[in-house]
Symmetry: C2
Subunit: 205 residues, 2 copies
């Protein structure tokens, strides 16, 4: 929980700094292995010529995700939280302190793999995007109403596995609509590329 | 983080209470949708005649998991944390306050879907079991070394999907061994039943 609203304040500062430098910043969150990195890799492939992109990866340990995305010709930065289960606005500000933000049009921040805590910590991004995966089973939306309420769009990933896993994707979308009738929902497969154009449209990129 | 060791203290109290009533308690943790509930359902089917079982489910919202497990003829209890991303020892003690623990031989506690925080909060259980799933991708072990260090056994679930997902299960086990050379590792499919007997042996049930 954000005691004393300290994170809200830090997020507002980040948002102002990003606006000042013309950065469009997206906070990509979701549980472990829902496809956040693969999705960002696909977005970098599709948008790398149109925008100058920086990718900031957040994990307790390793630089695996930043290294993966760096293969796609974009600049990357890794934040290791060591014990914190979510990125917060202060960590992001500190990580970007020595970065010349005027070099970038778009910044993708991949949050720590966790469907709960990152929802409570805005980073100053333009949009907080939640990536859920069909492999998480049919109940993950109903079990995390706060996360759905606090985000700006929901991406249902790994739809290429819908038949193999016997998951009813319509039911998942209904669960989302029940919590937020108007939130954008995009069905994608980061693996096959299905839905990536719709996602780009939802992001306004 | 467990400030001032308050949770450690509460966990010790729980452990003493469980010993006093002859309860063997297992804390089952893992990220969202890794198969914790399906695994517990399988264990209840296999062990329900041999032991009197209580299942305690932890989630931010809903009683979906307790309801699922109740179908297998065992007593269940649901804890809704509302915002907390992990169960702690105090929540467990409060939930069990009006329960006659002498009625049970085995208690399965399913923690909140989260690979990070529950690792830092012992509940007073005999063993903390981490369930990882092949659907989380190949890097989840390296990214969560603290979780692996703090648990007593690792269950690699959904191995029935190994080929379809092209995941190298040996590599995942090597990553675990790198962090803890001696920790028991069991490969299972909660869906097909593969490995459940090995898991029962590892649990000492
Ligand atoms: N079938 C299928 N697999 C996918 C898809 N997207 C990702 N994966 C697989 O899911 C696993 C995890 O993908 P990642 O991109 O590492 O997921 P992540 O959310 O970044 O994971 P963490 O950052 O570790 O939480 C990998 O094995 C991917 O190949 C998809 O659309 N379809
Ligand atoms: N193929 C396959 N699917 C599985 C297996 N175990 C669980 N699943 C599926 O994975 C999804 C999630 O299973 P659950 O048992 O609800 O997982 P969970 O860890 O309890 O989920 P939460 O409590 O919501 O975090 C469901 O769609 C299950 O059918 C398995 O061994 N193989
Ligand atoms: Mg990633
Ligand atoms: Mg469950
Ligand atoms: Zn947290
Ligand atoms: Zn936590």
């Amino acid at each position: 929980q954000d005691l004393f609203g300290a994170n809200e304040e830090a997020a507002a500062i980040n948002a102002a700094v990003f606006r000042e430098h013309g950065n469009r910043v997206f906070d990509i969150m979701g549980s472990v292995g829902t496809g956040k990195t693969l999705l960002i890799e696909s977005l970098c492939e599709r948008l790398g010529d149109k925008y100058r992109i920086l990718m900031v990866a957040g994990d307790l340990a390793t630089s695996i995700d930043a290294d993966r995305v760096a293969q796609h010709g974009v600049d990357t930065l890794q934040i290791n939280t060591q014990t914190a289960c979510h990125l917060d606005a202060r960590m992001v500000r500190v990580a970007l302190r020595d970065v010349d933000l005027s070099k970038y049009d778009v910044i993708f921040i991949e949050n720590v793999g966790n469907l709960i805590c990152p929802a409570g910590y805005p980073l100053g991004a333009e949009k907080k995007i939640v990536i859920v995966s069909l492999t998480e089973g049919p109940y993950m939306i109903r079990k995390h109403p706060l996360t759905i309420k606090r985000c700006d769009a929901v991406v249902i990933n790994k739809i290429d596995l819908a038949e193999a896993l016997e998951i009813d994707v319509d039911a998942i979308e209904r669960d989302i609509r029940e919590i937020d009738a108007k939130i954008p929902v995009v069905r994608v497969s980061a693996k096959t590329g299905t839905g990536i154009d719709d996602l780009i449209q939802v992001l306004g990129l």
